[in-house]
Structures are given as structure tokens and as C-alpha cells.
Symmetry: C2
Subunit: 208 residues, 2 copies
Amino acid sequence: MPEQYKIHPATKVVRGPKRASYDRKLVHGIIDDALICHVGTVVNGRPAMIPTAHWRVGERIYIHGASKNRILATIANGAEACLCITHLDGLVMARSAFHHSANYRSVVIYGKGDIVADPADKLEHSKLFVEKLSKGRWDQVRQPNDQELKATMFLGFDLDEVSAKVRSGGPVDDEEDNNWPVWAGVLPCEITWGTPVDDARLDPAYRR
Amino acid sequence: MPEQYKIHPATKVVRGPKRASYDRKLVHGIIDDALICHVGTVVNGRPAMIPTAHWRVGERIYIHGASKNRILATIANGAEACLCITHLDGLVMARSAFHHSANYRSVVIYGKGDIVADPADKLEHSKLFVEKLSKGRWDQVRQPNDQELKATMFLGFDLDEVSAKVRSGGPVDDEEDNNWPVWAGVLPCEITWGTPVDDARLDPAYRR
């Protein structure tokens, strides 16, 4: 498998091409580091989108939701989709207003979705989702029954029309602004995890 | 002004209606607490989206970017847009795989965008953007010149076709699963800010 994704007309990054990447490993990392993506399609002639969880298996990304969800059902019926995953890594504070920016890692994926139809495959994807949230949890929880699997739609998308954009590092001001009398640099940010909160009905034996 | 947004066909939340809200103050808070949104439209018949920064002025939300950006230019030419803002607040770990969920606050906005054409208004929006990143910074930085303003497109969207969805609190398992022998609760997460990183070329007088 080539190290780079093929560049398609839709994935050719025109604005800020220096930030663009088609590197397979980089794309995989950006996808895997994120818990949620935004999924867009065209519903009744209008763009629409939802945030949802995702996971990856090789060169495919998967989402799931209620079978009756309008956006998922539209994609399931053959409508084109666009998925975007974004990590905000920091604010880039320049000396000029114009050069203020953000450090980020994002991936955009175009394509049609395929329904995961086989109940055994749906069960396997339920496992992949739960295991992404917390490794080892699948074997501890009550697994989905037929009715739950029926109520859930799983959609998979090929990683083919895909591109990444990454900005990192400090501000890039115009040369003549570099002595402007103001602080300049990066305000880094990240998602951090707090103390787990026990469910109110939790059996005391399982308290953390 | 009514406390609630009017419910439109596109903003009527069908799936998970209990999580839906049209409360103006709640929507404003979700928008203002976020630094980035995802903006989607239809480009050459296909859904497309980008992450970008946003800010709000009363009942309008604004974004900006390179004038030549494909998605912004498409919206500027009259195409419908969809904006989505999402805060992930935690992972909801249930006793059943099916009831695993996320705590989140999201807003979806539908509508057409209006170009901010007047250079004085563009300057004012440059200020609003910089001030959202860091209050008081506008007066300290080198302000945009005519060329920079010309290269930047600002688009505003009415907050009219808008809805919010919020999930909070612990897992909601089926009654018969509440004694399942596994930890259940919430893994809370949030964006946290690290130590500011001085630009490599920073005048030592301005070090933090």
C-alpha cells in the first residue's frame, strides 16, 4: 500500500497547500486520536451535519446512530457524505491581527457510505466502538441484543478521497512586524480527562 | 425578543427530542464557549466542510477566511450553509454496550451567509475575532492594512434556523441491567490550556 493517499479533485488542498498532507499514517493518527467527527450530507437539497463518534478499521472509518436518524438514513440511501475531524491544538498569537491563527490537525473525507448489514458485523462494530472508548470494556458490559442491533445503523466509508491539514509552531509575522511591542507565541490547548464520576445507582463494590 | 428560537422544519430535532433545545441563552452560551465550528455547504454538487473560528454578535454568527477559500466563496455566492458547534463534555459509560453515549453540547445553524463588504465593518470584525481570542489584545497588535482586509472574507449568518442538543448526566441503562457487575458512570473531559509558549523571535522584554 502506498504511503500517500492519491490526490483527487475534491481533496486537492488549494488554500494553505503547505499545511496539506496525504500521508496515510498521519491521517490515521488524526482519526484515531479523536472521539468525534462531524458528518455532513445534503438533505432535501440543503447541507446538514451532525457530530458523532467514529472509529477506524484499516482504510475505513465507521460511524453509527439510530437507524431513523435523518442524516444517516440519507447517506445510507446513497447520498454523498463529507466527514471532518478536527483537533484544536492551540491559538497562535501573532504581532499582527491578520496573522493570528490556530494550531490544529484536521482530516476531511469525502465519499459514499456503506451500510453494515450483517448482524455479526454489527456486533463486531459495537465491540470496536466500546473498545475505543475503554479498552477491555466489551467483555464486562451487557452486549447488544437483536433489537438493539436492529435499531442501530452502522455506516462505513473508504479512506480514499481524504486529505489532512496541519498547522503547528509559532506565529509567522511579516518581517517588519517582528519588533512590534507585544507578546507573541502560542497558547496551547488539549482535551484533558477529569476524575471519573460514579453513576448514582452504582453498586458500591464497583466504586472508583 | 422571545426566549426561544422558532422551530423550523430543518431544526425540528426528531431523534432524541428530549435533548433538544431552542433556548436563545443556551444557544448563545454554546456558541460563545467554542473557538471553532464546522461549516458545511454543497460544492460542485457534493457536501464539503471546513473547521474554522467563529464569533457571535447578538443574533448573528461570523466566520472569516481567505477570500479565495472554495467553501467560503461558494457560500458568498448564495449557497446554503450549515454550521455546527460541538463541545464534548464526557463519555457516558453504561452497563450495556448499547447505552454508551457522550455528554455534549451542540448547536446546528442553517442558512445563507452575508458578506461583510464595508472595510470599516471588516475592521470591526477583525477586532471582534482578536478580542475573542484574548481580551485587550486588539489595541496591542498591528492592525490590518487594506491589503489584508481585502484578502479576508467575512461572512455573517442569522441565528434563526438554529437548534441545540445537550446531553448531560450519567448513563441511562435498562432497569434490568442496573445490577450488571461493571463500573458505570461518566468520564468527564474538557479543553484545558497549557503554559503559553513564547515565540522564538520574541523580544526578551515581552517574555511570559
